[in-house]
């Protein structure tokens, strides 16, 4: 099932939650909507599900207008951050719910329902919990049951709203892996919302980065990390060193000192972004920046150092391999191997 979202606008009072959003999701894709809170990612997901309605714009599934149908008629599986399991029902009944509420004409027989629920509980590897109640399960188990429940109606699209947001770090990691594998097995078009970049980059085929109701970039995880399209994406994904620079006549200046690097297309006050591990350390006089090592920590294969730049004493944090050990007080130079300059200092 393909999903197409066109010119969606959603406003809450004076707050623009979604500002002219366009998005196409290919069949069988596992897409992440990534952004800080308030970026509009959950609003977009809820509009696709039919739980909210846009003020303007179109949503279509396989070319068919989805806005003409309510949430119950869109055949969309929705998984909530806080599970939203029915607490008065056993795990079995929770999963069976979507099958039991079908109109009598199409409803499966009791035996068929039992078989289907069993199959789903096997799929999420929790068949041994069928008779428990939600309150007796751990967070990770609850979320897997919520997923099984959503899959029971054979949804054409699966939507997950911060599915691992309420879980602790370890369970989160396991479930991420598990969701990937599951998606490879059932291959239903899926969109999940997250504010955790690691989660988005690790799980999704494609990542949509959002900020302030707009899509900043759509691309593969490699793309958004290596070739950020905007200053926002660069600073939101991965750790970056950000320096305010001024670009005049193709020359990049940090304070009053020209840096010997290419300006690209930026003009005027801009920001220079460099990944922490993209700073090459060299002897004084051989790089774009000069500085003094203030503090060094080692993490496994890397050493992380705070360097005070000689120009204006700005502290930058860099990651370097340990083959050239740094000590506090060393005078060094830094040369960015890769960098981006984005115009504007917002």
């Amino acid at each position: 099932m393909t999903i197409e979202v066109r010119n969606i606008v959603k406003q809450y009072g004076a707050f623009k939650a979604l500002d002219n959003v366009d998005l196409r999701v290919a069949d069988g894709e596992l897409l992440a909507l990534l952004g800080p809170s308030g970026s509009g990612k959950t609003s977009l997901l809820r509009i696709i599900a039919g739980l909210d309605w846009p003020d303007a714009g179109e949503v279509s599934f396989d070319g068919e207008n989805a806005l003409a149908r309510g949430a119950g008629e869109r055949h969309v599986g929705f998984v909530f951050q806080h599970y939203a399991l029915f607490r008065h029902m056993s795990v079995f009944e929770n999963v069976a719910f979507g099958l039991r509420v079908q109109p009598r004409a199409v409803r499966k027989s009791e035996a068929q329902i039992r078989a289907r629920v069993k199959e789903l509980l096997d799929l999420v590897q929790l068949d041994w919990l069928a008779n428990r109640y939600p309150s007796q399960l751990s967070g990770g188990q609850r979320q897997r049951i919520a997923l099984a429940r959503a899959l029971a109606i054979e949804p054409r699209i699966l939507l997950l709203d911060e599915p691992f947001g309420a879980l602790d770090a370890k369970v989160r990691k396991e479930l991420r892996q598990w969701l990937r594998t599951l998606h490879e097995e059932i291959h239903v078009t899926s969109i999940f919302v997250t504010h955790d970049q690691e989660e988005a980059l690790e799980v999704a085929n494609r990542v949509v980065v959002m900020d302030k109701g707009k899509i900043e970039q759509i691309g593969t995880p490699g793309d958004v990390y290596d070739n950020p399209a905007t200053a926002f994406v660069h600073s939101f994904i991965g750790e970056s060193i950000v320096l305010p620079v001024d670009v005049r006549d193709g020359q990049v200046k940090l304070g009053h000192r020209p840096l010997n690097i290419d300006a690209g297309s930026a003009v005027g006050p801009s920001k220079l972004f460099v990944r922490r591990h993209d700073m090459q350390i060299g002897p004084v006089g051989e790089g774009a920046f000069e500085g003094t090592v203030r503090r060094v920590r080692t993490f496994g294969p890397i050493q992380r150092a705070d360097i005070a730049l000689s120009d204006d004493d700005t502290l930058v944090e860099i990651d370097a391999p340990r083959d050239r050990p740094l000590t506090t007080g060393d005078a060094i130079s830094l040369q960015p191997r890769r960098y981006r300059i984005f115009a504007g200092q917002e």
Binding site: A49, G50, L51, A71, G72, E73, F86, S135, R149, A150
Partner: protein, 262 residues
């Protein structure tokens, strides 16, 4: 633990034991004569039957009120919310006199009803009405916090799974509220059974027609037939206890199925 038991004994158990001790003044046959006399039986039937009916009405009306107070935002919502507590706070005699005035044959509501041939004041219907009045806050106040805690996401989940509005209400919302609903029902019922002040004004108090058991007890007391009074009290106590026990059981059963998801 010891403190709790001491408190409980001082405040509840010892007075109740006194009741049984006093009743023991009667011989077994005297006891049976008292409690099976037609006047006593009628009074008991009026008290328990109408209290049960009133609690049922409160259950339905209470749920509707709770739903409106929790789920809708309308002007005056806070005021309505406060008004719900009035039957708690109002002296029962005041409530009784107010209801009687309102529903008497020349009252604001009583007159139009009388023209339709419906007589409210000084009939069992009046008793029922008073019981509904004093019981309503119990249902509202026990269900309200639970409904507030009930996540809207639960309903959204049901809708996404294809449930109709009716299915969502009957299969998801009401079952989630069941323990609180039962508690509210039990409290409203218990209050109505024991209600005296507001009822006696509107009841008319005709023996065998509109006389409630608590009133009969007071009448026996004023006749200095203390043992007879306590005999009726014992019957009320035992029946109430059994009903509340039953409701408790039901509630525990509902609760084990609905431990809070936390």
């Amino acid at each position: 633990m010891g403190l709790t038991l001491t408190w409980l004994s001082l405040l509840i158990l010892i007075p109740l034991a006194g009741l049984f001790v006093k009743t023991a003044d009667l011989s077994l046959s005297q006891f049976f004569d008292t409690v099976t006399s037609s006047r006593t039986l009628h009074a008991l039937r009026i008290s328990f039957g109408l209290a049960f009916a009133a609690a049922l009405v409160n259950l339905v009306a209470g749920l509707i009120i709770v739903w409106a107070l929790v789920r809708y935002r309308f002007p005056g919502r806070r005021l309505f919310d406060a008004i719900v507590d009035i039957p708690f706070a109002l002296p029962t005699a005041v409530a009784g006199i107010a209801l009687t005035t309102l529903f008497a044959q020349n009252g604001w509501l009583g007159a139009p009803l009388a023209s339709l041939g419906i007589k409210v004041a000084f009939t069992p219907l009046g008793i029922f009405l008073a019981m509904v009045f004093i019981g309503i806050p119990f249902v509202v106040r026990t269900v309200q916090p639970v409904l507030i805690d009930l996540d809207v996401e639960i309903e959204e989940a049901a809708v996404c799974l294809g449930a109709s509005r009716w299915q969502t209400i009957t299969r998801v919302i009401i079952p989630s509220l069941t323990p609180a609903i039962l508690t509210g029902f039990a409290l409203a019922f218990a209050r109505a059974v024991g209600e005296y002040g507001s009822v006696i004004f509107i009841a008319g108090n005709l023996p065998n027609v509109s006389e409630i058991a608590p009133l009969l007890i007071v009448i026996r007391l004023s006749e200095f037939r203390y043992a007879d009074a306590t005999a009726i009290a014992v019957v009320m106590l035992v029946v109430s206890f059994l009903i509340i026990l039953l409701l408790n059981r039901l509630q525990r059963w509902a609760q084990t199925r609905a431990l809070a998801v936390s």
